[in-house]
């Protein structure tokens, strides 16, 4: 089966790359769970979008959600930092915990939650302000007034998002003057500036050209050393390239979640196999 082979090749390339990277790191094999989801059902008005989803998201790893359009993967992603709260008429049952704390408990302040669980969207949405103000926005609204501190945060965030060298001489220019790929990295820097633990990414590279996509993927690879990353993608190759875990969603159900390598080479469910071999979706 050629597609399976091509995935195997991908995996092989990745492992080589990862061993190079990991050699610089202290190896920890124990998986600590960051987010736990139990029996989650989600409704848009009367229409149920997610059915009884349970999963754990391990710390300092990349978890990818794949599945055909409308399968609920983006909806599920947004339940993890309660972005669905903004949409009127949505309802949810079940439990989502971040390091053991129920994020839907009544005493949880959603603003505090979103500071810890940052988000990057499909369409890059820089604010119509300067590059500096874009990145400084999160810390500023959280009460950081010290200009020196802010500058430090902005520089560090831009460095982490691999954008610093390209913009360091024009921090006061409008963020809208950046290219599409740069704008998306700016949005990542902006999300990093609030110092989150978890970074949710909703198809962060789907509107970008291949070169910019590669840069974003490299960046995600770097970021997982410090952050827990959850990424929605409709590009299976991308999921195979960058994620440690992959979850396959179909029609609102979580069909299968496994180590990326396992899921792409030896899927347990028929539906998963059909999807990744391109028989549907």
């Amino acid at each position: 089966m050629t597609i399976m082979q091509s995935f195997s090749e991908l995996m092989h390339q990745r492992q080589q790359r990862e061993t190079v990277k990991r050699s610089r790191l202290v190896e920890t094999e124990t998986e600590v769970s960051k987010l736990d989801v139990n029996n989650l059902n989600f409704f848009y008005g009367e229409k149920q979008a997610l059915f009884d989803v349970s999963m754990t998201v391990p710390e300092r790893s990349v978890t990818a959600f794949i599945g055909p359009s409308g399968c609920g993967k983006s909806t599920f992603l947004r339940t993890l930092n309660r972005m669905n709260d903004i949409i009127e008429g949505t309802r949810l049952t079940g439990k989502v915990t971040l390091e053991g704390q129920d994020i839907y408990a009544s005493e949880v302040d959603v603003v505090a939650l979103r500071k810890r669980v940052g988000m990057v969207f499909q369409k890059s949405t820089p604010f119509p302000k300067s590059i500096f103000d874009n990145v400084a926005y999160g810390p500023k609204i959280a009460g950081q007034r010290n200009q020196k501190e802010l500058q430090g945060i902005v520089e560090q965030s831009l460095k982490r998002a691999a954008l610093w060298d390209e913009v360091k001489d024009r921090m006061q220019d409008s963020a809208l003057a950046l290219s599409g790929g740069q704008q998306q990295r700016l949005c990542i820097a902006r999300a990093l500036a609030t110092n989150p633990d978890v970074l949710l990414m909703d198809e962060p590279a789907s509107a970008l050209d291949p070169a910019s996509t590669a840069r974003i993927e490299d960046l995600i690879f770097e970021l997982k050393q410090n952050y827990t990353i959850v990424i929605v993608t409709h590009n299976m190759q991308q999921a195979a390239r960058i994620s440690d875990w992959t979850a396959f969603f179909f029609q609102g159900y979580l069909i299968e979640k496994d180590r990326t390598q396992k899921l792409f080479t030896t899927p347990k469910k028929k539906q998963t196999e059909d999807y990744i071999t391109g028989r549907f979706g």
């Binding site: 972005m83 979103r114 988000m119 949405t125 604010f127 119509p128 926005y137 809208l176 609030t194």
Partner: protein
């Protein structure tokens, strides 16, 4: 096989002729308005630039009596002059000017802005950002549109009852509230009577529906992705509105506000209803120049509660007088009013263009 076909199609010529006719009709509509408007402007401009030519009888009488000769000696070359801008209304047309009306209109403008902007923008923000979709919102929305279409004279009656008389709550003589501000006394008469503040509040009511609807549209034009991105960074709803939504909507809001204000500046009917004075030889608070503010700063506190007149009222007053000279004074007044309004509209356009270039997503 002949695939080229016939490129001459007689039926097409007819279709082209219809198209041509339509173009001419549209062009005609454009020029109809333009021509009438420019004729009007030219005739008013011409009137404002020269006094009426006196007929033979009047010249004879002028020669016969000494007093008229004196008046003629004062005669400035044309109605619209710097003297016109710096003197009060007068029983002698050659001495009459528009000073009181200019300052009255300026005070109205200031107070209409102060009351309209916060209330209008606040209401728009509530309706667009906070309130839930539902029956109440729809009812409010429909009524806002209806209120925008209510004739201005109706607002005049409303202003008369609410602000000028205050439903007669304060009896025949009224009351005066005194506040000691430390450096000066602020005396607020209740009811407001025929003061600047009554006029400004009435005009403010008149333009509020338009301002709210314009501001709502500006807010709606802000892409929701900006809001979502702000929320995702841990902003509260107020922070999102304050730092993202309002700045992005500001050019649209400002344009709406300025256009509404220029409408308020041109309104006559409601001000006549609430009893703005048609003949007035003083400025509100006795402030008739910038230096007067330094000499007499408490005038700033008195002005809002002082009697007033405004540009359109002054014009209306002159038009209704018998002597032909007043017609020409009215023309001069119209020129001044038009210049003021054009300046405001230009400001609106400049603001819009300036911000449009800066915010493009």
């Amino acid at each position: 096989m002949n695939v080229s076909g016939n490129l001459r199609e007689p039926a097409l010529a007819k279709r082209h002729r219809i198209g041509q006719l339509f173009e001419w009709a549209c062009c005609g509509s454009t020029w109809f308005g333009m021509v009438v408007l420019s004729l009007l402007l030219l005739s008013i401009g011409w009137k404002a630039m020269a006094w009426p030519i006196p007929d033979a009888d009047a010249v004879d009488r002028a020669a016969a009596t000494k007093t008229d000769a004196k008046a003629n000696a004062l005669l400035s070359p044309r109605p619209l002059s710097t003297r016109f801008l710096t003197s009060y209304d007068s029983r002698v047309p050659q001495k009459a000017g528009i000073k009181a009306a200019l300052w009255g209109s300026l005070w109205l403008l200031v107070f209409v802005t102060i009351t309209t902007v916060p209330v209008g923008v606040g209401a728009a923000v509530y309706l667009e950002e906070y309130s839930n979709e539902g029956r109440w919102k729809r009812i409010i929305q429909v009524n806002l549109s209806n209120l925008a279409g209510v004739p201005s004279i109706v607002y005049g009656i409303l202003g008369l009852t609410v602000f000028v008389r205050m439903f007669g709550l304060f009896g025949h003589d009224g009351k005066v509230l005194d506040f000691n501000l430390g450096f000066a006394m602020l005396s607020i008469p209740l009811p407001f009577e025929r003061s600047v503040i009554s006029g400004a509040l009435t005009l403010s009511l008149l333009v509020l529906p338009t301002v709210i609807v314009a501001a709502q549209e500006a807010l709606r034009a802000v892409p929701s992705s900006i809001r979502t991105a702000s929320y995702a960074l841990g902003a509260t709803q107020w922070q999102t509105i304050r730092h993202q939504v309002l700045p992005a909507a500001m050019p649209g809001i400002m344009t709406g506000v300025i256009l509404s204000l220029s409408r308020a500046m041109g309104e006559t009917a409601p001000l006549i209803m609430i009893g703005a004075l048609t003949y007035l030889a003083k400025c509100p608070g006795k402030i008739d120049s910038l230096s007067a503010v330094w000499q007499h700063p408490t005038g700033l506190l008195e002005a809002p509660f002082d009697v007033f007149t405004s540009l359109p009222i002054q014009i209306f007053n002159w038009v209704s007088r018998a002597q032909p000279e007043y017609d020409h004074l009215a023309a001069a007044g119209i020129m001044v009013l038009l210049v003021v309004l054009m300046m405001m509209n230009t400001a609106a356009i400049l603001i819009r263009n300036r911000f449009q270039r800066r915010t493009q997503w």
